[in-house]
């Protein structure tokens, strides 16, 4: 069932505070700055955890806007969407609501790398996110521009440790205070837009640039190290000016697969889905790129751009003399625009028009909005802890492109995690971390905070060491119970995950319990090629591992024990095939998790630490300040000997502290005993 009901757009807009004067309070637990993918997930997660949350955004109607491609998911990114959904985030359900073309990428390559993906209707996506936020209890949305981040001077006892106290808006009103502030300002931090030779300040076309005050606070007052990155977006094409009959049709899956574990179907009916089209660049495209190069200042600057989402200019320059793919994607059910994926460009608008007209289906195409480039500052994410809190500023959390990532899903994942931790901090709960052994979100955050970025960071499945265990199909088993414990998963989803988990466990036990000789199996299921040279009995679980075996087949042979689990037939098949590999992974995973559970105190002075460490290693540790022993082992340049020295140090300091605490407790108890010596028994 599709659980979401969408209220009419007009009915909820008045609920929004457009002026600070309308705010019911000037004190919140969590303030989220920015209404993109990171900001919306952060605000919703913080509110779910139980924090009074304020979301501040420049323009209410751009909350939940898809500023670049009209699609969600894909290989690696789809994994993130499933994990965000398992933690009760928004984007999976929003995708099911707004999707107009669903497909599972990599269908033939194994379930661990399946990539659920959908083309989206921009308007429906925005509507869903806005209606969801505005119906979230404890969440207020405010339109405004943040001028300043308020932080305390560092405590003299703890040099370099600031604390966030709130924000000040540009309209000159009184400050709004909060224990945690989550910044999700995307490309707006010192952002500049580039088209041809013109440059203007801003983070997205049509939106005002952010105040310089925020950048000043981050850089000058907090002393955070920033870097510069660039990205870009293609021109939007007028749909009816394109001859799609000259492109290759790519139909969606005949049965849409929802992103969300809570949905069994999508809003869009299978037959209502829209197709995509594929076409190729011609030598004329390359010619125009070269001709207009001198008019293209974005491409001439050497700010780091992504290698995997490059502009058509850099594709042509790096791989000349060949054709490149261009996907023509629908922008929505009612939209009359097409999104040419692969044609991100920054040349002058007239050159853009000439370029697209070199591609056969677009011979007579018109451009609605030209493509442009953005250059922006990001905060080097090695300055964050795994809870996405800035190490030197308590209560300040960063998420999304501000941390050097690219992509909606990467931003949303960080947003959720930062919002969760912001709320936990404001409610005096300890910070939470996700391990790279249990989730792609953990891989993403660990890569960011322990390695940093040199180019916009995007998720790939090859980044996850334990890919066979971290599958899109089991994200709920991996994360929903943990999310419930941490507070970001609400009860209905948790109940559903518990039901699924216990059903799967029962079904697997039933499969294990079926034990037959190979001869019997061959007689019962002649088509799956059970070899008969094995003398031992085989379980149903082992039979299900055969390529051509399905759970349906087994259930038809053993209906009384198995037919109750038909709902999970696909998941059971996947579990059976992957079980031996996951078992192999588990030992390594447990080892890493133990190391990650050994936290390194954040106030260690590595330069003077009284253990035998080389100067080189001390510098590495001082720079990276890993938060766990596990993170330390992954640092480049760490030696096994240094890890052992650290291990010993932490082990013995902990032991000493425990002894000290015990002694203090004993002393206290001794005193207590003196004080209440008349009591017969003492609570121990």
């Amino acid at each position: 069932m599709l659980t979401q009901k969408l209220p009419a757009v007009q009915s909820f807009l008045p609920l929004v505070s457009r002026r600070v004067g309308h705010l019911s309070s000037r004190r919140y637990d969590v303030i989220v700055v920015g209404g993109g993918h990171a900001g919306t997930e952060a605000a919703a997660a913080a509110a779910r955890v139980g924090a009074d949350t304020l979301l501040v955004t420049q323009k209410i109607h751009t909350v939940g806007a898809l500023s670049c491609n009209p699609s969600l998911g894909g290989v690696g990114k789809g994994h993130l969407v499933r994990e965000i959904d398992a933690l009760d985030g928004l984007c999976g359900r929003a995708g099911d609501w707004a999707g107009i073309h669903f497909s599972i990428l990599n269908r033939s390559k194994g379930p661990a790398v399946w990539g659920p993906r959908a083309q989206l209707d921009r308007q429906r996506y925005r509507e869903f996110i806005q209606s969801e936020l505005l119906s979230t209890p404890r969440l207020t949305v405010l339109e405004g521009s943040v001028e300043e981040l308020l932080v305390t001077e560092p405590n003299p006892d703890e040099p370099g440790r600031h604390r966030v106290t709130g924000i000040r808006l540009a309209d000159g009103s009184q400050p709004i205070s909060a224990a945690s502030v989550v910044l999700t300002t995307g490309t707006f931090l010192s952002g500049s837009l580039f088209v041809g030779q013109t440059t203007s300040p801003g983070g997205r076309i049509g939106d005002a640039p952010s105040g310089a005050g925020l950048t000043h606070t981050l850089r000058e007052r907090l002393g955070l190290k920033v870097g510069r990155l660039r990205t870009g977006t293609p021109p939007r094409i007028v749909k009816h000016s394109v001859d799609l009959s000259l492109a290759t049709l790519h139909p969606p899956d005949s049965r849409p697969t929802p992103f969300s574990f809570m949905n069994t179907r999508t809003r869009c009916e299978p037959e209502e889905q829209l197709p995509c089209h594929l076409t190729l660049t011609t030598p004329g495209v390359e010619r125009i790129v070269r001709e207009s190069l001198h008019l293209n200042c974005h491409i001439q600057q050497d700010t780091k751009g992504p290698r995997y989402c490059p502009s058509i200019e850099s594709r042509v320059m790096r791989f000349p003399g060949r054709s490149h793919q261009v996907w023509l994607e629908p922008e929505g059910v009612t939209s009359d625009l097409l999104y040419p994926q692969g044609l991100s460009m920054t040349m002058p608008p007239d050159a853009q028009l000439r370029l697209i007209r070199e591609i056969p289906p677009m011979r007579r195409a018109e451009i609605h909005t030209p493509g442009y480039g953005v250059q922006y500052d990001f905060v080097c994410p090695t300055q964050l802890s795994p809870s996405l809190q800035v190490k030197n500023t308590q209560g300040l959390f960063l998420a999304g492109q501000i941390n050097g990532t690219t992509g909606y899903e990467e931003a949303a994942a960080q947003g959720l995690w930062a919002g969760l931790n912001g709320a936990r901090r404001s409610l005096s709960m300890p910070p939470a971390a996700l391990s790279r052994t249990e989730s792609y979100i953990g891989v993403l955050i660990d890569d960011l905070v322990s390695r940093g970025v040199t180019e916009p960071y995007r998720m790939f499945t090859s980044r996850a060491e334990f890919r066979t265990s971290l599958r899109p199909d089991n994200a709920d088993l991996r994360l929903t119970p943990k999310g419930f414990e941490l507070g970001c998963v609400l009860s209905p989803r948790y109940q559903e995950a518990v039901r699924v988990e216990s059903s799967l466990r029962e079904a697997m036990a039933a499969l294990q319990a079926v034990r037959l000789s190979t001869t019997s199996w061959r007689k019962m299921l002649p088509d799956i090629g059970v070899s008969d040279n094995k003398s031992s009995l085989m379980t149903g679980m082992e039979i299900l591992q055969y390529k051509d075996a399905s759970f349906e087949m087994l259930a038809s042979v053993f209906p009384e024990t198995l037919s109750a689990y038909m709902e999970f037939s696909q998941r059971l098949k996947i579990e059976a095939v992957y079980k031996p590999h996951c078992d192999l992974n588990r030992r390594e995973i447990e080892r890493i998790q133990k190391e990650e559970n050994m936290s390194l105190p954040q106030d260690i002075d590595y330069v003077s630490l009284p253990v035998s460490l080389s100067l080189e290693v001390r510098e590495i540790l001082e720079r990276a300040r890993p938060s766990t022993l596990g993170a330390a082992t992954r640092l480049e340049g760490m030696t096994p000997a240094a890890i052992v020295a650290l291990f010993n140090y932490v082990h013995f300091t902990e032991k000493q502290e425990k002894t000290m605490q015990r002694n203090q407790r004993n002393q206290k108890e001794d005193r207590d005993e003196d004080l209440c010596s008349t009591n017969v028994s003492l609570p121990r």
Binding site: G74, V75, G76, L105, N106, S108, K109, G110, P111, A112, V113, G115, R307, Y308, C309, P310, I312, S314, R315, R318, F319, R322, S323, H324, Q325, W327, Q341, G342, F460, T461, S462, R463, E465, R467, T468, K547, V577, Y578, H581, R587, R591, K594, E595, V611, S612, L629, T633, T639, P640, A641, A642, I643, V644, A645, F647, N648, F652
Partner: protein
């Protein structure tokens, strides 16, 4: 790295090498009992705990008798590591130890121990006291250094090139499979990528298997402690070599740059095998042959267990007070890459007046922070005896370390990793059509196993190859 409760069972030679009658091989971990049963052909009952038994030790696969020796069974927790442990006391020749180590490697669940792993496990089981624990980091440092040098020696040869070549090919295979997984749905990944990977994996697997089968293919590994004589040109390095081996093994002349290549001699010092190398004088030269000689000399120093720096005493400052400073400066200039292995300094004293030699000796004894300095007269051999005593004690210390100069152990380690590599490649083939993610996992495991010989390969390196070989850009 710091496994808190490793489930693997590890083994290693835990006695030194050189002239020893008995070698001790230690096994620790849950599969110890299995290893003991398989190696001595027990079917049911294990021997009584901590009691030495004389048994025939056999290869579990071929059933060939490898040696007759003592076996001891230490059930947990009463062992050095606190885990189930076994000790094999066998005859101390390289042939026997290699055979036993290789046989242990073929028992399922067993792998060669990493540096310091026995001690680390003992520490985790609470079997060490604080001082022992404090030394653990240093011990592991020393062992990793010894392994690094040993690996470098092997990797610089033909074998090393072979492994590097495999590693390179595997990296490409993995990058291409990963590119196909992460990008082929959106990007133009040309046809035939996977078919090329199939062929490479098949060829590689055949090569690795052939290599494991063919005992003769491995080059003969140089045994013993590697001592290298280094120094500036014309310092008298070749004279030292000739003095030590008591025959004119190297040509000596007053012409700077006489020795151009590495001259090697096997020696027996105090009963321990030593491989002594004389190298070209270290100086900048425009002569191509000499440049190559200097490169080889530096490479040799990098791989050495012990370096002897020879200095011509006439180059010392006339004020003996400054001699120590001069020597430490000289050490830094001539051997800048030297991290901190064992080093000794030899000074030729022939051309100094006797009174100054004595003053020098007193002064150098006084200062600290320098490696051991020996003063020798080439003509009268005065000081040679003292030098030999110093050299012998260094060599003895080095030989006490079972990892140092023992190619058999490295061989056993390589073998285990190569076997894992071949098995992992079979996983690729098994899953190639059914599940590419599991097939890729096979290539990844193969690369990890090989990486334990050639060095680790990270995810970023694979992504670099992907972006170099394919135009990815959606």
């Amino acid at each position: 790295f710091v496994g808190l409760a490793d489930a693997d069972t590890i083994f290693a030679l835990s006695s030194g090498h050189g002239r020893c009658g008995v070698a001790v091989v230690r096994v620790s971990g849950p599969a110890s009992a299995t290893a003991l049963r398989r190696m001595v052909g027990l079917t049911h009952r294990l021997p009584p705990p901590r009691t030495a038994l004389l048994r025939s030790i056999t290869d579990p696969c071929s059933k060939e008798v490898l040696d007759r020796g003592l076996v001891l069974w230490f059930p947990a927790p009463h062992s050095f590591t606190g885990e189930d442990s076994v000790e094999f006391h066998i005859h101390g020749g390289p042939a026997v130890t290699t055979a036993v180590l290789q046989a242990l490697g073929s028992v399922p669940g067993m792998r060669p121990a990493e540096a310091g792993e026995f001690t680390r496990r003992a520490f985790q089981a609470g079997k060490l006291d604080l001082t022992e624990v404090e030394g653990l980091g240093d011990l592991i440092h020393a062992e990793t250094e010894a392994q690094r040098r040993q690996a470098l020696r092997q990797m610089s040869g033909e074998l090393g090139r072979l492994y590097q070549d495999w590693s390179h090919k595997l990296k490409r295979c993995l990058a291409h499979v990963e590119a196909f997984i992460d990008f082929s749905e959106d990007e133009l990944i040309e046809d035939g990528v996977l078919e090329r990977v199939d062929r490479s994996v098949c060829d590689l697997q055949a090569e690795v298997k052939q290599h494991l089968k063919d005992e003769r293919r491995g080059e003969r590994l140089r045994c013993g402690v590697q001592v290298v004589i280094a120094g500036a040109t014309n310092a008298g390095k070749s004279s030292l070599l000739n003095t030590l081996c008591q025959r004119p093994a190297a040509i000596v002349s007053p012409i700077a740059g006489t020795t151009r290549d590495v001259v090697e001699t096997a020696l027996d010092i105090g009963g321990f095998p030593v491989l002594l190398s004389d190298t070209a004088g270290l100086r900048d030269s425009s002569d191509l042959v000499e440049q190559e000689g200097v490169r080889r000399a530096r490479e040799r120093v990098h791989q050495a267990d012990l370096t002897l720096l020879v200095v011509d005493s006439t180059r010392l400052p006339s004020d003996v007070q400054q001699a120590a400073d001069f020597l430490s400066d000289h050490l830094r200039t001539v051997l800048p890459s030297l991290k901190q292995p064992e080093t000794g300094i030899i000074l030729w004293t022939d051309l100094l007046p006797e009174a100054q030699t004595q003053k020098l000796q007193q002064e150098l004894r006084r200062v600290s922070g320098l490696p051991a300095v020996c003063l020798i007269s080439c003509q009268t051999n005065e000081g040679l005896k003292d030098f030999l005593t110093v050299l012998q004690s260094s060599v003895k210390t080095l030989c006490g370390d079972p990892l140092c100069g023992a190619p058999t152990l490295t061989q056993a380690r390589h073998r285990a990793h190569l076997q894992q590599c071949a098995a992992a490649l079979a996983q690729y083939q098994r899953y190639r059509d059914a599940d590419l993610a599991l097939a890729a996992e096979g290539v990844r495991l193969a690369l990890t196993s090989l990486g334990r010989i050639t060095g680790r390969v990270g995810a970023e390196e694979i992504l670099d190859i992907i972006f170099k070989d394919f135009c990815i850009g959606k």
